[in-house]
Amino acid sequence: MSDSHAVAVAGHEEAHGEHPAYQRHHFVSMEQQNETVSFGMWLFLLTEIMFFGGLFTAYLIYRNWYFPAFVAASHTLNLWEGTINTFVLISSSFTMAMGVWCAETKRSKGLIWSLIGTLILGGVFLGIKYDEYHEKYELHHIPGEIFHFNSQGFVHPSAEALKGGEKPLAPDMAAKTEVYFSLYFAMTGMHALHMIIGIVLLCGMLWKASHGGYMNGHIAFVENFGLYWHFVDIVWIFLFPLLYLISRHA
């Protein structure tokens, strides 16, 4: 880089003779740039773990305190939709992994189709999630006064919420289902928000890929997006058993 007198403005991608155009001015080599970018992404995912960590902590504490309410409320979740969504999301991780591989091996068509597949599966996930939220809305299981949260269903044996066959709760414990649903919406809501951000980024990436992007070997963005997408997937892999499965026993 000793000969570099380029105007050093970030984002100013200027060819330096021996350097590829996408090498940023402040890196000595492409290798350094790639290592740096990928390290930065892993570190960002670490901050994301801490972000969700606060919610998982709250879940852990309240689950211990209000175990019967968590069991009862968990039974009202739609296990089928949750399971299907888990498969949808794992499949989208697969298509995304395919996308990264296609970008690495410079398969333009493959990349585009993988991204489209990921986009569709992500959309399906959010659609099913919307249906689940809607069901909660109809059952008055959304916490807060605006949505008229109603824990009565957990008290009366004939109620809709008790179709899973578990016992009715005492009224004070039944009221604690609101804590469960608070966490349910906070956790799945934050997860869905990450999915929406991911889908926006996917659209941008798809647009660039369909215009011949990522075929010059500079695929840091695709790789890092892949990491992000898998991370969001893994968060769901934890959310699904914690919210849907773990309290379900015969």
Partner: protein
Amino acid sequence: MSTIVSLPDQSTARIPKRNFITNENGLMSWLLTGDHKRIAILYLISITFFFFIGGALAGLIRLELLTPQSDLMASDTYNKVFTMHGVIMVFLFLVPSVPATLGNFLIPIMIGARDLAFPKINLLSWYLYLVGGAMTLGAMITGGVDTGWTFTTPMSTHFSNTNVITTGLAIFVAGFSSIFTGLNFIVTIHRMRAPGMTWFKLPLFVWAHYAASILMVLGTPVLAITLVLVVLERTIGIGVFDPTKGGDPILFQHLFWFYSHPAVYIMILPGMGVISEVISTFSRKRVFGYTAVAFSSVAIAVFGFFVWAHHMFIMGVSNYAVLVFSLLTMLVAVPSAIKIFNWAFTLYKGSITFETPMLYAFGFMGLFTIGGLTGVFLGASGTDIHLTETYFIVAHFHFVMVGGMLMAFLSGVHFWWPKMTGRMYPEKISQLAAVVTFIGFNFTFFPQFLVGMLGMPRRYAAYPHEFQVLNVFSTAGASILGVGYLLPMIYLIWSLKYGEIAGNNPWQATGLEWQIQSPPLTENFTTIPIVTQDVYDYEWLERQKEHEVTHVG
């Protein structure tokens, strides 16, 4: 008085024609820059702006407390004023103060890199800071917020009808600015070091920032999610912290302090980094126990994550938790003391000179030590029950944050001013400012220890008559302190045009940043240096100079 300042011949010296300031012109070249030095300057301007707003609010608080009755403002206004003072000073001044300005400017240069790893993210972090700041100001103008900077639930979720949501989201946004700064620093320090720049050749300034960055990256996201939950609680009424729904307000405090205790180390560690550089330079010695000082920064960062519940001794946490957190809190005193002792030993038999940065550094050492030792009173659960929520705790954290961090910030700004601008600040008046700040500070905050010991609670606009004498002292001191802060503001701006030309290395210091021109080139180094000398190696510097002399002769 002896001095180490060596300036070039003023009749012939010129500021280098090509440098990062003159490289490009126009407002857009600043607003869209990726240059870490320009972003540091942008941060310096915006941080100073918020510092003076926070300072003005502090002035209002002190004015109100001049008399025992609440006569300047009503109690609810007073609540808003101290809340905005806390929010602005903590989140918009102290957290980004040294890292985003001096750290941003210096870390790449100190490790021999052309820029931070992610210049665009660096710029994004400044914009996030501005958005957070603008939202805070907006919340202030449209009615303010009165929960205290701690947003304690259920006050913040149920009982306050002020702008909690806007302020909470403002801090959320500003938090991401902090996360991105920390992330950028960690990656840069790991991956961008020049050849030969091993971990133990890094200046202690860099080590301190590395430790602070770990805290920013791991702590701030927890604050972010906590504030999201508070906002959700206020808007749609979820029940995570709401006792009427089965939630636990204490959980909010656990999550909040899980960030906000490490945050005090985010604030102080970079300041400690500044002090290491300054003490070494003005005693012409390698920092005593370099490795110990380096690791004590990391130790503070690690211990700092396991002491948060000492903010909650009177909030109904279990006695066993109090015992454990009390013990862990005492442990943090160990690495802090390691630093103080090692700085003292660095001074021992050094060739000490008393330029302004050194005066501020001395101020730091004394005031931080008092602040730290009174922290032990508060970490011990017995005395804490008497002292917490009184003016004792206010005095304690102002000794650490204002006496410690602000002194360090001013020390650093003076120390690197010639590097950032190419011009010296006026020495005599700045020494005066340092002394005025020190005197004003002690007048302001020392009486608060006494009045707190006597039982005056914090966060009230009115107080019993017997506390008035000490409060008058405190308010009088605050006016001196205000002068101490206005002086640098004036003469530093003056020096931009009229200051003496500084040359590359006015302090004859050893760091890489002093071996390049002032102000630096946009690319910092024309060729990436290969580092062979040890850190703080003054003999190497002497040989360099001898070599230069024979070369020219």
